[in-house]
């Protein structure tokens, strides 16, 4: 009888630890997805265009960091900052050369879609040519993990990632709520006509919103790449996940991204643990279908 009791207890223990560790990976994945979807959501929320080059821009941001790390002797943090800055500049260039000219025409929603798709293709192949086809690796921020009783609960790197993401969310919240530029962006997102009346230059706001979105996206690419590896073809997968998250969140809502990211990230962790990674893409598709059938407006209708 005693041995049976011990058996049951240790199984329960095992189950709990499995569930807990899945939960932890879920939170880690969630934080990555949240960052990734942020750029997409900010751009859509304000400019109402869907940036199909999103995933590829994320990859490019990561590639920039890889390149800077391997070619120059700069520290990790500096490389990330420089990459974010370059992505910001690239965002401005893309906006003025490709998006702005299209906004004047009546079918801007389709034409911006097609042009960003084309841009994605260009970025993908440019990265392939410039950086080479091999899989790249970006080192983790810190090595090692927090341990408890021989179990590795969470690696320092992942914990770092989560903290960085939380900091970034808080920073963004501050930016949008307190700074003049941030408030201008929110104004345009909430009521374009009204914003115009009070003298806000809509197109300029669009331009730096786009650039900020691109910069965040590039940064998210770095985070994602430091956890997984880096190949140029991953861009399209990230794009797909990005838009499921954005739709679940409610197009244009940042608070929604938080909840959507958590939900989808943790679900993905559980699906991949209990059913196998091979079911993950189908899960995303089914999840998307269900969202569209039952609540296409998403979780939150807040405008930013």
């Amino acid at each position: 009888m005693d041995t049976v009791q011990w058996g049951v207890e240790s199984t329960v223990c095992q189950m709990t630890s499995m569930i807990l560790s899945t939960l932890v990976s879920g939170i880690i994945i969630s934080s990555l997805y949240i960052t990734m979807a942020l750029g997409l959501s900010v751009i859509y929320g304000v400019i109402k265009i869907f940036n199909f080059s999103h995933g590829l821009l994320a990859i490019f941001g990561a590639y920039l960091v890889w390149w800077l790390l391997s070619r120059t002797g700069l520290g990790y943090g500096w490389c990330i900052l420089i990459s974010a800055g370059i992505m910001f500049g690239i965002g401005i260039i893309i906006y003025w050369s490709m998006i702005f000219p299209l906004l004047k025409h009546p079918n801007w929603d389709l034409s911006t879609l097609v042009i960003t798709l084309g841009l994605g293709m260009v970025i993908e192949n440019f990265s392939l040519i410039a950086f080479g086809p091999g899989t790249k690796a970006i080192p983790k921020f810190i090595k090692g993990s927090i341990r408890w009783n021989d179990y590795s609960i969470i690696s320092w790197h992942d914990l770092c990632t989560i903290i960085i993401v939380i900091c970034m969310l808080l920073l963004l919240k501050y930016f949008f709520m307190k700074t003049k530029q941030g408030q201008a962006i929110r104004a345009v997102a909430q009521d374009m006509e009204g914003a115009r009346y009070i003298g806000i230059d809509i197109f300029k706001v669009f331009s730096y919103t786009f650039a900020i979105g691109v910069s965040i996206t590039g940064f998210s690419g770095v985070l994602l790449a430091s956890k997984l590896s880096l190949t140029s073809s991953m861009g399209w997968d990230w794009l797909v996940k990005g838009f499921v998250i954005v739709v679940l969140a409610g197009l244009g809502s940042i608070t929604g991204i938080f909840y959507a990211g958590i939900f989808l990230g943790i679900s993905e962790a559980f699906i991949s643990f209990f059913f196998g990674i091979i079911w993950v893409p189908s899960f995303w598709f089914v999840a998307f279908l269900i969202i569209l059938l039952f609540r296409p407006e998403g979780l939150s209708s807040a405008k930013l």
């Binding site: 490709m98 042009i115 084309g118 994605g120 293709m121 192949n125 189908s282 998307f288 569209l292």
Partner: protein, 309 residues
């Protein structure tokens, strides 16, 4: 002039034996079917369906699987594959799409397209997974390139005829009405749901038959055809020609099919150039190549005015 081109294209293989050109024209016919049926739903009906290339591929796969595993003569398989694809499409794409506004249909159908490779890998037993479906039987015994050429040409002409008829009919006008002003169209009694399902069904049917034909010709089909490159190329064919400007899509297709082949020599640069081409096209020809004809009309009109006054 169109009649002359048509005549040339019809008699060409009988007199010349250049198999390379025949092959290129065959490709052109196939993609023209796909692109023009896509134009029907994207340009005329204004439904942001991005899953069209997936219909082509599913049609190809189904035709191949049917031909390999069932005792049906291969020649009927594309047709059968087409019917099944259409049913699947209507259930999984058209029905959900009925209730969704524009951007959501775009996202959903694109996601459908992007999820299919994973689905293919999981049904490895039937579809050959990432290696693809091999040894698909040809349409009938002793078939040759020239037969495929004429079948494809015939199918293209049939497609163009069908599309032309639809555009001129009340259904076609209903599509355009829904695209331009949905509320007004509804107030006129146009049943939006019925029309949307119709347009999905027709375009999917045409594209999937083309896929079946293609699969039997190449004798194999792989998930790579679903790659983002094929998708973008086909989208550019439609876009370049001008959305909803009917014969324009043929121009667009011709340009892309031949440019793709021409640039093949460039190796890795090829897709970069193609992506840049898309960007260039969207920026400078937002209404498609048919814009050139518009401008010509304007120029001719101005010249005529000058002469008169």
């Amino acid at each position: 002039m169109a009649a002359l081109i048509l005549l040339a294209v019809i008699i060409y293989p009988v007199f010349f034996n250049n198999s390379y050109v025949t092959f290129m024209l065959f490709l052109f016919f196939i993609w023209a079917i796909v692109a023009s049926s896509w134009d029907l739903i994207l340009g005329y009906a204004g439904v942001n369906n991005l899953g069209h290339v997936a219909f082509f591929v599913i049609g190809g796969y189904l035709s191949g699987i049917l031909a390999k595993n069932l005792p049906i003569a291969a020649v009927w398989c594309p047709l059968l594959g087409g019917v099944i694809t259409t049913v699947v499409v209507v259930i999984f794409i058209a029905l959900p799409a009925l209730r969704l506004p524009g951007i959501y249909i775009a996202l959903y159908s694109l996601m459908f397209h992007l999820t299919i490779p994973s689905l293919l890998t999981q049904t490895r037993k039937w579809t050959g997974g990432s290696k693809g479906l091999r040894e698909i039987p040809p349409l009938f015994e002793n078939i040759e390139m020239i037969h495929y050429y004429y079948i494809a040409l015939g199918l293209l002409l049939l497609t163009l005829f069908i599309i032309h008829k639809i555009i001129k009919s009340r259904t076609g006008q209903a599509f355009v009405a829904l695209r331009d002003s949905a509320d007004f169209a509804r107030s006129l009694g146009i049943n939006e749901y019925k029309e949307k399902i119709k347009v999905f069904a027709v375009s999917a049917f045409l594209a999937s038959i083309a896929g079946g034909l293609y699969a039997h010709f190449i004798r194999s089909i792989t998930p790579t055809t679903l790659g983002i490159n094929t998708f973008l190329l086909t989208l550019t064919m439609v876009y370049l020609g001008g959305l909803g400007r009917f014969p324009g899509v043929l121009l667009g297709t011709a340009l892309i099919v031949f440019a793709d082949e021409y640039f093949r020599a460039m190796g890795m640069l090829r897709h970069l150039v193609l992506g840049a081409l898309i960007i260039f096209t969207v920026l400078f020809f937002p209404k498609g190549l048919m814009q050139i004809f518009d401008r010509l009309d304007t120029v001719i009109g101005k010249m005529a005015l000058k002469k008169a006054g």
